[in-house]
Symmetry: C2
Subunit: 333 residues, 2 copies
DNA sequence: CGAATGTGTGCATAGCTATTCACTCGCCAT
DNA sequence: ATGGCGAGTGAATAGCTATGCACACATTCG
């Protein structure tokens, strides 16, 4: 109604209850020294006025906002949604708020850092597949802690949580060999993703250990279309692989659909397949995909711990093991 | 390093540059009266100190934080991820920040409203399937505008954006009839979702208009498992439907997989199917599901408009038409 | 009964920025 | 020459809360 309305302040409540502003503050501060009768009167007045304590002055003094910024690159992959959900739960449980920041590629530099600093966010979690070292350096200079997921940034205020991508790659090679694979293929993710690089390196290492020829290679993205393209590339040539490790589940689904539709190769069946992320869909009937479960709970728990490390001198890195969940995609028909 | 470090303030910069605090403020305020030479000297000093203007004092005075809270119930449905992504883009483009709040059921009351009010969020967007009227009333009393998506809350500061769920239900009935359906079934979402209720009502209305018998009914959730259960229920009895309208795509996928696996009913084929949301997956080979596209861009654009309506006296509601995307699930084999 | 302890309350202040007001110059026009 | 004007700058202030300090009063103990 009125043009310049202003939410009630503690002073307004104090006036209404006939006490001082400090009394109001104490009424809302657990453990503060205040008579129960006074407290009741104040709460009543506050309720009537619709008063809620303004958090900003406290933040202004302490420079601790209780806000954690989570930076993501997009949501096309359900894995991000799962991570976001887990983070949201954990932050809420810790009494903190999540500020969600979405960036296209590395345009993060243009003002986003300024914004985050301006709001005095307590820390930044980067769930970006690719993260800009420049942005990280800026945040470091501002002494804002950063926790990266599956990334390989380094710096004073940077901590990281990763899957043991390399070990999983090795395990994938062993499993596929054990199940009877002889001609191996790797469906790659984007080249600038450290997770992709480590998974591929691990797979190559595992194959070498087993004395197998190195894998054929296709793909180059974490999305469905990229997997579909990779499958066409791999199976259009003369020498077809019979065992595939895919950089993630989403790409694996693209592979499976193309194999079935375009090449009549029913999976499970003629081609062995392993993915990564263990999405809900991996258990669905058309896929039944063997996959590495990233144990998001553990990732998030580790990240939450690292958030509050104030020292920040040494670069802390945590590695969370992935758990292999085997389904029919690694069974011969 | 030092225990109580404090980020540089405008006063620190002023001291370093040999000017007053107000000059520093003006150097960072576009269009402020300041000599170019002075400005340059200040920016240099600010850069050296790593100064970023603190946004909190301004918020403290204006009570406008630039933060919009987005409330969601979970991310299990990729549709939420798509909505979130679109909102994030729109808010960033408008120079605002997103605070993401996740609530289990209606525990939103327990402190979340207090938090949001405390941070002085400019508005709340509720993407919750089910939303608590009590929470909405609290926010209204605080004069915080709310925009709900596909909900039916009402109140002074509440605006809503919805799909034309009823019309889509009618359209689904007509399409299924046109394609040859004779025995209809409805796979329901959760009973407390207004969207579910409207879709079902529209479907029933459409069938009645066509002079068909009312639909068999099963399900009761928006998730995959609920759809799977519904399919078993519907096809275990004697009279099997041959045309299904599913409350959303996720449930439809569950239906399709069960029909194929448990009953050998290939879809597309013997059973006609229509879903809702037009997820990416609806286009994938195992599904090729006819679905209603909610036009998220339009939803978000409408919501962004409604956010800044300051008047708030009348309850504004926008309806966004859904677009039918037909695929093979509505073709007879 | 005096001192000491404890309880409850008010006063004053820090924290940082944008903005208004006032002031000083230099310059132009009358 | 002098009033007026515009540009550039500094001082002061509002905005709200938590908290340290001081004070008043009640209670208990020696």
């Amino acid at each position: 109604m009125s043009g310049n309305w202003r939410p009630p302040s503690s002073t307004d409540v104090a006036r209404a209850a006939g006490v001082s502003q400090s009394a109001v503050s104490r009424a809302f501060t657990p453990g503060a020294r205040i008579a129960e009768a006074t407290r009741a009167r104040i709460l009543e007045a506050a309720e009537a006025l619709g008063y809620r304590p303004n958090l900003l002055p406290k933040i202004l003094q302490t420079n601790r906002s209780g806000i954690v910024a989570v930076v993501v690159g997009g949501f096309y992959n359900p894995y991000f949604a799962m991570t976001l959900e887990a983070f949201s739960k954990a932050l809420t449980a810790a009494g903190r708020q999540m500020m969600l920041v979405r960036v296209d590629s590395d345009r993060i530099l243009d003002g986003v850092v300024d914004q985050l600093a301006g709001y005095r966010v307590d820390a930044v979690v980067s769930a970006l597949a690719l993260t800009s070292q420049a942005a990280a350096d800026q945040l470091s200079k501002l002494r804002i802690p950063i926790v990266t997921l599956n990334s390989d940034l380094a710096g004073d205020w940077i901590r990281s949580v990763s899957s043991d991508n390399f070990a999983a790659g090795v395990a994938a090679a062993r499993l596929l060999r054990e199940r009877g694979g002889t001609r191996f293929g790797f469906v790659a993710g984007p080249a600038d993703s450290p997770a992709q690089v480590a998974r591929e390196a691990g797979f190559a290492h595992g194959l070498a250990e087993l004395g197998m020829a190195s894998a054929m290679r296709a793909g180059g993205g974490y999305d469905y279309a990229s997997g579909a393209r990779a499958a066409r590339d791999l199976f259009s040539g003369g020498e077809r692989p019979d065992a595939l490790f895919c950089a993630n589940d989403l790409a694996a689904f693209g592979v499976i659909d193309v194999l079935r539709e375009d090449f009549g190769l029913g999976a499970p069946g003629e081609v062995l397949l392993v993915g990564y992320d263990n999405l809900d869909m991996a258990a669905w009937a058309p896929y039944r995909l063997t996959s590495f479960d990233q144990d998001i709970q553990a990732h998030v728990a580790a990240a939450m711990e690292l958030l509050d490390l104030e020292a920040g001198a040494t670069c802390v890195a945590r590695v969370v093991p992935s758990r292999l969940v085997e389904r029919e995609s690694t069974l011969r028909s």
